[in-house]
Amino acid sequence: MITRDQIVHIAGMAKLKFTDEELDEFEEKFGQVMGFVEKIKEVDTENVEPTFTINDEEGTMKENGESQTLSREEVLENTVESQYGYFKILKVVE
């Protein structure tokens, strides 16, 4: 059973905020996920390797690739605030 504290903790990790009603709903939704987990636990997966990528080929590495570097204007184009060529936000308190 998942507690309200745990739900709030998850929301904190996801950087999302919810009303009390919404948090209540999550209890049910997480319960649903737990239901999924219970269901697939039925399956015998002994000696079965997990599929991390569906592509069975060997991956390759890059060498001598074309640069995709943007101009500074393009880099800053979509931010709300910039200054002296930097992105700007309020100070991070350690």
């Binding site: 998850i10 929301a11 990790m13 996801a14 950087k15 999302l16 905020k17 919810f18 999550f26 939704k29 997480f30 996920v33 999924f36 987990v37 269901k39 697939i40 636990k41 039925e42 399956v43 997966t45 079965v48 390797e49 997990p50 599929t51 991390f52 990528t53 569906i54 592509n55 080929e57 991956g59 390759t60 890059k62 690739g65 995709q68 943007l70 393009e74 880099v75 184009e77 979509n78 931010t79 709300v80 605030e81 992105f87 936000i89 309020l90 991070v92 308190v93």
Partner: protein
């Protein structure tokens, strides 16, 4: 002649014969858009100027006698999770309301190189999460076949545009059926190619091991033309397949004779409330295949039973991390009220993301957090292997698998949005295809109660030619 009622390949034929120009083709479609858009709302952003310029360039090339690319001046709609340089890309979300990409997705580059004319960005469920295009920040899209109904989702805008004659061709993205299901709901062809055939560079990911760009067309030949213009190996995408440069040909075999068809045992007795007529239509279609010389067989794919759960766990885990980069710092919506860093992140994301998006991020975060990781996520990855293996076994002695695309008819707007459980069952037939990285195409198989129903033809990995040919064969038979 009503240009927009032609197939894309027919328009191209006439253009190459200089019977019509690209500008004329474009204008015909813009006229439809002017008439229909207020009802359909298939587009989030239209780029009339850009399209006109592109059409003009194609016409000039034609005049000069230069050869044209495979899309030869045809208008194309792009789902709004595909980045277009200097053309706003929103993913159907408030988070990207003003996002102006500084680069093109690889598929967009290819469309431009193929002389396609980009009309604009089509509507979608926010961040591709949904099956009805009802969660977009930019309003619902409606089904051209019945405006009181949904066009399906998440690529509902692209499907509606093609079905509503606003464009002959369109791209969507398919993570668990988001191209095939809208194709079924709108009565057109929609295909999800083998994972790795089409580059994902520049496509905003939902679930990166499941996503693939899909194509819409009014018939199989159009879908094929769209697919071959955008497929190919991309060194910028480390999940791109080296086999993607192989020819996806539809030459050769004309009929369904000798086609070895498999029907999953597990679907035989599967029932969703109210689907009797759809099941009946499916049975009739299987008979059509049989009568045309196909060999029908039943196969067992036992792990299909677990595909929905497996899909949800993997998909939401991947979604939760893929959406972490949306924080309002370098791009996207930034909240105006924050005093701490945490508030900057939390308020921006909470204010800008829709409900379904936030819900799935929460589920994924929960799924990945310690204590759950080993059980949830990794177990699902093992079941995924079993699903993959079941399909490999089935395809050893069979060419294609047939099934319904969607277990329901296009439903009324606002009727399902509050029953997510039913929505989740809607993905039943489509989801395992993404889990196994296979290819599948939905082709219309007529109407039931006046609404479109789709047939899903599934093939093995790199069997894209096979399913396209089977689709063509079926089209010919029913013509």
């Amino acid at each position: 002649m009503d240009i927009t009622s032609l197939k894309g390949w027919e328009m191209k034929e006439r253009l190459l014969k200089k019977e019509i120009s690209s500008t004329e083709i474009l204008n015909a479609h813009l006229d439809v858009i002017d008439k229909m858009e207020k009802d359909l709302n298939a587009f989030i952003t239209l780029d009339r100027d850009g399209a006109r310029e592109a059409a003009k360039r194609v016409d000039e090339k034609l005049q000069r006698g230069e050869s044209l690319g495979a899309l030869a001046g045809l208008p194309v709609g792009l789902k709004d999770n595909i980045l277009t340089k200097d053309l706003r890309t929103t993913c159907g979300s408030r988070m990207l309301e003003n996002f102006n990409p500084p680069y093109d997705a690889t598929v967009v580059k290819k469309i431009r190189e193929a002389d396609g004319v980009i009309l604009g960005k089509t509507n979608m469920d926010e961040f591709a999460m949904g099956g009805s295009t009802e969660t977009s920040y930019y309003g619902n899209t409606r089904n051209p076949k019945d405006l009181s109904r949904v066009p399906g989702g998440s690529s509902g805008g692209s499907a509606a545009a093609v079905a509503g004659h606003e464009a002959p061709l369109a791209l969507g993205s398919d993570t668990g059926g988001s191209v095939r299901q809208p194709a079924s709901f709108c009565g057109i062809v929609g295909m999800k190619p083998t994972y790795g055939i089409v580059s994902r560079y520049g496509v905003v990911p939902m679930s990166n091991s499941l996503d693939q760009i899909g194509v819409f067309g009014r018939d199989v030949k159009d879908a094929h033309m769209m697919l071959t213009s955008v497929s190919g190996y991309d060194p910028l995408d480390a999940t791109s397949s080296k086999k993607a440069d192989r020819d996806i040909s539809i030459e050769g075999v004309d009929s369904l004779k000798g086609l070895r068809v498999a029907l999953p045992e597990q679907y035989r007795n599967l029932r969703i409330t109210g689907d009797e007529k759809i099941q009946e239509r499916f049975r009739e279609t299987v008979k059509v295949f049989e009568d045309a010389g196909a060999i029908i067989d039943y196969v067992s794919l036992p792990s299909l039973e677990y595909s929905l759960e497996t899909y949800y766990i993997i998909m939401s885990s991947e979604v939760s991390t893929n959406l972490s980069r949306f924080d309002g710092i370098r791009f996207g919506y930034r909240t105006e009220n924050y005093e701490t860093l945490d508030e900057l992140y939390t308020n921006s994301r909470t204010e800008a993301f829709g409900e379904e998006t936030k819900r799935r991020i929460m589920l994924g975060t929960y799924s990945l957090s310690a204590g759950y990781q080993t059980e949830n996520y990794k177990k699902a990855l093992r079941v995924r292997t079993l699903i993959k293996q079941d399909y490999e076994n089935a395809f050893r002695d069979h060419d294609v698998i047939l099934s319904l695309t969607a277990p329901m008819l296009p439903f009324e707007i606002d009727s399902m949005i509050n029953s997510p459980v039913d929505m989740y069952k809607a993905d039943l037939y489509t989801v395992p295809v993404n889990l196994a990285g296979l290819c599948a195409i939905s082709v219309p198989m007529g109407d039931v109660d006046g609404l479109p129903v789709g047939l899903q033809i599934t093939g093995p990995r790199f069997g894209d030619s096979t399913i396209l040919k089977a689709g063509l064969g079926y089209e010919r038979v029913v013509r």
